[in-house]
C-alpha cells in the first residue's frame, strides 16, 4: 500500500485491474485504492508477471502492507507496490529527548513539550524543565488573589493564546478590497443624522461578516471534543483593547439579525461597558467568531490568533485611500485589508477564500446590509 501523502495511514483496495498470471509492465495500472483523499490508481513499479494477490478487494490495510507479488523476469518475486515512502532524511535538529517523568508531568500540567529545550543528559527534557515552563506559563492560575487584575488578564490571554497556537493549525488569508461604495453610503447616511446617531465603518464591516457567516456555518463553530460543532447563533466577538492593557472579547449576539443601526448602537454600548468593566458573563463566553480591527492604530493587516474554542477570526486593517486600478485607470479609493485566520482542522483555504470574497460582495452593496 503506497503512501500518497504524509497524513495517509491506510488505504482500501477497491479493485485489482490485473489478475494473477497477467504480464505487467512497469507503470501499468494494476489496482485502485480508496484513500482519505479520493480514489487513486496504483502503478506497478517493476516489470514481470503478477504472481500472487495478498490483499483482496474491500480490505483496508496500513501503508506499507505488501499487496501482491510480481515475479520479475529473472524469477525472483518482489512486492507489487512500492513500500511506504521511506522516512524523510534527517534534517534540522535531532529528535527531542524527554525523560519518562518529564513526559508524565507535562501531560499532567498541560505543558507543550515541543517548546522546551532540555537541560538533561544528551539534551533530554527533564521534569525541572517542564515545571519551570509550567510556572511561567500558568502564573495566573497560581496567582494569589492580591495580584492586580492586569496581570491576571495577561495570564488569561496568555493561556488562551498559547493553547490556540499549540492546538490549532492556523492558516491565514488576506484580501485587500475596495470600500468605495460602503464609505460613500456611510457618508450619505451620516449627512442627515445627528452626531449621536452617526454610523462608523465598523458597523458595516461587522454586519457583512455576520451575513457572510450564514452561508459558511462551518466557520461559525466551536471545536469541542475533537470535532467542530456548528453554532446555531452568529455571535460576533469584538476584540476591545483596554486602557490598562490587555483586551477583552465580548460578543454581539445574533449579529446577523440586527440592522446596521442596531449593531452600531450595540457596538457603542458594548465597547463602553467593556472599558467600564460592566459586561455580562454570557457576553464573554458566547462568541462564535471573533472580529478584530487595529485600523484605528494605523495597522494595514491583522493576522489574528483564533480564540478557542472558535475556529476562525476575521481581522480588518485601517481604511485608507490608496491608488486603485479601475478599468485601466489609477484612481484613489478607500480600501481595507481584511484577513481570515482559520482552523485547518475545520476548513481549507479554498473555502476560506470564498468566505472573504463573500464579505467583499456584501460590502459592495451596503444599502442591502
Amino acid at each position: 500500500m503506497p503512501s500518497l501523502g504524509a497524513d495517509m495511514a491506510a488505504g482500501t483496495l477497491l479493485e485489482w485491474l490485473k489478475q494473477p498470471g497477467d504480464r505487467v509492465a512497469r507503470g501499468d495500472l494494476i489496482a485502485e485504492v480508496d484513500t482519505d483523499k479520493g480514489v487513486i490508481q496504483v502503478e506497478a513499479f517493476t516489470t514481470g508477471t503478477l504472481e500472487r494477490i495478498l490483499v483482496e478487494a474491500g480490505q483496508k490495510v496500513p501503508v506499507g502492507t505488501v499487496m501482491a507479488l510480481i515475479r520479475d523476469d529473472a524469477g525472483s518475486p518482489s512486492a507489487a507496490a512500492p513500500p511506504a515512502l521511506p522516512p524523510p532524511p534527517p534534517s534540522g535538529p535531532p529528535p527531542q529527548r524527554v525523560s519518562p517523568l518529564a513526559r508524565r508531568r507535562a501531560q499532567e500540567l498541560g505543558v507543550d513539550l515541543a517548546s522546551i529545550k532540555g537541560t538533561g543528559a544528551e539534551g533530554a527534557v527533564t521534569v525541572a524543565d517542564v515545571e519551570r515552563l509550567a510556572r511561567g506559563g500558568s502564573a495566573h492560575a497560581a496567582a494569589p488573589p492580591v495580584e492586580d487584575s492586569a496581570a491576571r488578564m495577561r495570564g488569561a490571554i496568555g493561556a488562551a493564546m498559547a493553547r490556540s497556537k499549540r492546538e490549532i493549525p492556523h492558516y491565514y488569508l488576506s484580501n485587500t478590497i475596495d470600500l468605495g461604495p460602503a464609505m460613500a453610503w456611510l457618508a450619505e447616511q451620516n449627512q442627515s443624522r445627528p452626531v449621536a446617531d452617526r454610523l462608523v465603518a465598523a458597523a458595516l464591516l461587522l454586519k457583512s461578516v455576520a451575513l457572510a457567516l450564514r452561508d459558511f456555518p462551518e466557520l461559525n463553530a466551536w471545536w469541542v471534543d475533537d470535532r467542530a460543532v456548528r453554532q446555531p447563533s452568529i455571535n460576533l466577538g469584538v476584540a476591545v483593547s483596554l486602557r490598562q492593557g490587555g483586551l477583552i472579547v465580548p460578543a454581539l449576539e445574533a449579529a446577523d439579525r440586527a440592522s446596521v443601526d442596531q449593531l452600531m448602537r450595540r457596538l457603542t454600548d458594548l465597547v463602553a461597558r467593556a472599558k467600564g468593566g460592566a459586561l455580562r458573563a454570557s457576553e464573554l463566553s458566547s462568541g462564535t467568531l471573533t472580529v478584530t480591527s487595529l485600523g484605528d492604530r494605523g495597522v494595514d493587516t491583522v493576522l489574528g490568533v483564533i480564540y478557542p474554542p472558535q475556529v476562525a477570526l476575521v481581522g480588518f486593517g485601517r481604511i485608507a485611500e490608496r491608488p486603485w486600478v479601475v478599468q485601466g485607470a489609477v484612481v484613489p479609493r478607500p480600501v481595507v485589508t481584511m484577513s481570515l485566520s482559520a482552523d485547518h482542522r475545520v476548513t481549507d483555504g479554498h473555502r476560506g477564500a470564498i468566505f472573504l470574497d463573500r464579505i467583499d460582495q456584501l460590502l459592495r452593496e451596503p444599502g442591502a446590509l
Binding site: P100, A102, T126
Partner: protein, 327 residues
C-alpha cells in the same frame, strides 16, 4: 562503643555461640589460627574444639557437612574464608542447600549460615579478588546478605541463625580493619530490609557492602557542590527490598547503582531492571551503573584501583544523571 569490623563480627559469633548450644563454627583455620581475617580469634579457647572446628581444605566437604548438620538439627556457621574458594562448594550450595526443602516436599530444612569474605582492594590479584555475591543472589532458596556497617556485621549473623533456610553472609575484606561505632542500644534491623544511610533529594545511590563507604564519600563530595545524594544500602541482596529501591527513586527520580561485581549480568543490572519495571515513569534520567571493569582484577595497585568503583567514578556517574547546570 568503638570497634573494628572484625571485632563486630567476632561479637556476633560469640553472641550466637553463647545464646544457642546448637550453634557451632567450622571452616579453614577458624580455630587455632583464629580465622584468616582474625574474626574468630580467641573463640577456640573460650568455646573449645567441639564448637570451633578446623576443617580440611575441602570446601565441598565442609559445606556439605554443614548442610548435613543443619538437616540434623544443628545451627552451623560455616566460614568459607573467601568467595573465591566457595566456587568449590557450589554444587553443595546450589544443588543441596538451596533445593532440599523443595526436593523433600518440605520434610527437610537446611538452617545453615555460611560466612565468607568477598571483594578486591588488597592487591590479592585476580584469583583472590572476586565479588561473586551477585551470583549467589541469583539462586532461589537462599538468602544473601551483605553487612556494610559494624552493627550489621554483628547483628546479621544472629538473625541469619534464626532463619529456617540457608543464609549467606558476604563480608567485604576491606572492611575488617575499619574502625567504627557500634550502637549497643538499638534493636537489630530486620534482615531483608534496605536502609537509607544518608537521605537526599537529587539522586539515589544504590549500593551495598564494601561500596557503601565509597558511595558515602561520593555523597559528601557532591554535597559540597549542592547536590543532595541519597545513599541506599541494600543490605539484603536476595531477596531485594524492592519497595525501598523504588521508594527512593520515586523520591529522587535519578539512580546510580554501585556494585563491585562485573557489569554484565550484575546485581546492578538487576536493580536497574527493577527500577525500569517499577518506576519508569518516575525516572528523569537514564539509570547509571558504576561496576568493576570487565577484566580479571589486576594486581598492581593503580590498575586495581582503576578497575573498581571509586568515589570519583561515582561522582562522575551522578553528574551524568543530573540536569546540566546542576552541581
Amino acid at each position: 562503643m568503638k570497634a573494628t569490623y572484625r571485632e563486630a563480627v567476632r561479637m556476633g559469633l560469640r553472641n550466637a555461640l553463647l545464646s544457642d548450644p546448637r550453634v557451632f563454627l567450622m571452616g579453614e583455620d577458624v580455630g587455632r589460627y583464629g580465622g584468616s581475617y582474625a574474626a574468630s580469634r580467641g573463640l577456640l579457647e573460650e568455646f573449645g574444639p567441639e564448637r570451633i572446628r578446623d576443617t580440611p581444605l575441602s570446601e565441598s566437604a565442609f559445606v556439605g557437612a554443614g548442610i548435613g548438620a543443619a538437616m540434623g538439627g544443628m545451627r552451623p556457621i560455616v566460614e568459607v574464608m573467601t568467595v573465591n574458594f566457595s566456587l568449590l562448594a557450589l554444587d553443595q550450595i546450589v544443588n543441596n542447600a538451596a533445593t532440599l526443602r523443595h526436593m523433600s516436599g518440605g520434610q527437610l530444612a537446611v538452617p545453615l549460615t555460611v560466612r565468607m569474605a568477598t571483594g578486591a582492594g588488597r592487591q590479592l590479584a585476580a584469583q583472590h579478588s572476586h565479588s561473586l555475591e551477585g551470583w549467589y543472589a541469583h539462586i532461589p532458596g537462599i538468602t544473601v546478605v551483605a553487612p556494610a556497617t559494624h552493627n550489621d556485621a554483628r547483628d546479621m549473623l544472629g538473625l541469619a541463625l534464626k532463619e529456617p533456610d540457608p543464609v549467606f553472609i558476604f563480608e567485604h575484606l576491606m572492611l575488617y580493619p575499619q574502625e567504627g561505632e557500634l550502637d549497643e542500644t538499638r534493636a537489630p534491623m530486620p534482615l531483608r530490609q534496605a536502609c537509607v544511610r544518608r537521605p537526599g533529594t537529587d539522586v539515589s545511590i544504590v549500593t551495598y557492602g564494601g561500596s557503601l563507604g565509597k558511595a558515602l564519600a561520593a555523597a559528601d563530595r557532591l554535597a559540597t557542590e549542592s547536590v543532595s545524594a541519597e545513599v541506599l544500602d541494600l543490605r539484603c541482596l536476595r531477596p531485594l527490598d524492592n519497595e525501598a529501591i523504588l521508594g527512593s527513586v520515586r523520591h529522587t527520580h535519578r539512580a546510580v547503582i554501585v556494585d563491585e561485581g562485573w557489569r554484565s549480568g550484575s546485581l546492578a543490572a538487576e536493580v536497574t531492571a527493577r527500577i525500569m519495571e517499577g518506576a519508569f515513569y518516575e525516572l528523569d534520567a537514564p539509570v547509571e551503573r558504576v561496576c568493576s571493569a570487565e577484566v580479571p582484577i589486576p594486581y598492581p595497585k593503580h590498575l586495581e584501583d582503576a578497575a573498581l568503583p571509586q568515589p570519583d567514578t561515582i561522582v562522575e556517574a551522578v553528574r551524568r544523571v543530573l540536569p546540566k547546570g546542576a552541581g
